[in-house]
Amino acid sequence: MLGKQAFFRHSVFPQAGGMRSTRQNVVCRKGTGLASLWRYLLAGLGLAALLVGVLAVVYLTTPHSAQTVGPDVSRTKATDNGLFVASFAPERGVVRQGELESWLLTLKTKAGASVEGAAITISGGMPQHNHGLPTSPQATDYLGDGRYRIEGVKFTMSGWWQLHFAISATAGSDTVLFNVVL
C-alpha cells in the first residue's frame, strides 16, 4: 500500500503538476547511474500494482458463488410427506417489504383434485437472523379450487424468510415449507 502510494506520488501520475515532466523522465527515459536502481524498484512496484489491478478487476467481475447459492424458492412443491401439492404466491403478484399482504396457498392432491376444508396454521421466521415472523398470518378465506387466502403476511427485512404451513384435511395432515428471499 505504502509502496504503491509512493510510486503514485513520485512518478507518472499526470495530475502531479510541475513534477510531471521531470519525474516522467526519471522513470521512463534516463537510463544511467543511480536512476537505474530507481528504475528497477519502480518497475517492480508498477508490476505489483498492475497485478493488484488485474486481480481486482477479475474479482469484481466474477459472480460470487456464495451469494448465488440460496435456498429453494420455488413457489410450487409437494408437501413433506407427499400428500398434497402446494403453491404459494402473493395475491397481487408482487411482494413489497414492510407491507401487510395477502398470499394464496393453493392445495391440490397428487391427482390434481382441489383440497377443500383444510385447516391451516402458519409459522416461520428468518433462519439466519434467528427471529420469527413480525405478524401472525392466518388462513382467512377459502376461495374455491383449493385456494386459501393467507392474510397478514409481512416481510420487514430483506433476506431469507421461511413460511411453514401445517395442513390438515380429510386426506390427512402434512406440512410444507416455502422460502421467500427478498
Partner: protein, 398 residues
Amino acid sequence: MRRLFCFLAMMAVILAGCGKPDFSDAEKKTIASLALNTLPSLKPDTTNRFADVPAAAALGSTLFFDVGMSREGTVSCSTCHKIDRQFQDDLPQAVGVGHTNRRTMPLAGVARDPWFFWDGRRDSLWAQALTPLENPLEQAGNRAAYAHYIKARFGERYERIFGPLPDFSGIPLNASPQGNDAEKAAWNAMSDAQRDAINRVFANIGKAIAAFERSIEPAQTRFDRFALDLVTGAEPKGDAVFSREEILGLKLFLGKANCVTCHNGPRFTDNGFHNTGVPPVPDLPPDRGRVDAVRQVEADPFNCFGAYRDGDAGACGELRFMVKSEPELVRAYKTPSLRGAAGRPPYMHAGQFSSLDEVVAHYAKAAPSVEGTSEIHPLELSDRERAALVAFLKTLSD
C-alpha cells in the same frame, strides 16, 4: 515499450486505489432504498376521517402546544415533544407532572408507524394521543375534564369540525375509568350514553392532534444527497461528498455490522420490535417491553376494533395479525428511526446510552439481555471502524 509499461502501470494504480467510492450493485440498491426520496407519500388513515382535514390539524396543533391540556395547567405535549428539538426533550426519561420511565420519542414521520410507543401499546396515532393526557406522570388529566375544557375554550372550533358537542348537564367535572378513585367512581356513576358521549369527544381530541402530527416529516440530510448522486451516477458536489471515514461507516452499516437488517427503508426502521440486549435502568420499575404491551393494546377501547374507529375494520390488519405470545417479545422495543439521531442524545427506550460511541460499543459487545434473548451478535470492530459508524450516523443529521 517502456512508455507502454509506464502507461499500464499508471492505469493499474488508478484502477486499484484512487477511484471514486466503489459500491457493489447490491450495496447501491440498498443505499437507494434508504434515501428519503423513496419515502412513499403518507397513506390516508381511514380510522380517522379527520386525519387530512386542515381545520382538525389546526385545532390539533393548538391542543398540542396548550398547557391547559393538563391537570394543573403546566404540561402540554410540547413540554416533552419540543418543536425545536426534533419533538423530543434530550432527557433520559421524560418529565411531565411526574418523572416517567421512558425516553420521549422524536416524532418525525411518526404517522407512518403501525405501532406507537417504545413497546407499541397503541395502534393508531389518535389513540396514542389520548394516553399521555390521562397518564398521571404526564398530563395527568381526565377525559371528563378535557371535554369540559374543550367546550369552554374551543367549543365553536370543535363543533365546526366534529359536529355538535354533547349535552354536558349531569356530567361530572372530573371522571375517567383511568383516574383516581374519585374519578373512577364518578365515571361508573355516569350512564352508558354519557360515557360514550365523553369518550367520543376524547377520541376527537386525539383525532385532531393526530391530524396535526401527520405534518411532522423527516427532512433531507447529507446522506440523502449523497445517495441520490450515487444512484443517478452524478458527481457528488459540496456536502454530498462523503469522506473516506463516512464511506467506511456506510459500508459497515450495510455489511459487517448488519445494522440495516433492522434499520432499513427511508426511515431507517423496520417498524418492528426487537430485543437488542439494552440493559434496564437500575432504579426504574421492571420493563418487559413488547410482551406486556400486547394485552394493553387489546384492552384499549380506542383501538382499531373499538367503537371510535372511523371507516371499516379492513384497516385493522396490524392489530388483527399481531404476534401475541412469542418469547421474542420479551424486552423487545420498537426499532427507532436513525434520522436525526446524532443530534439528540441520549439513546434507547430509557436513555441508557449518552452518546453514539456508547451505542456502537453496545452493538459490538452484544451483551446478553437480562430477560429474553438479544438478537444482536458480537462484532469485531476496530476503533477506526467504530468511529466510522458514528461518522456515518452523523450524515443522517446534517
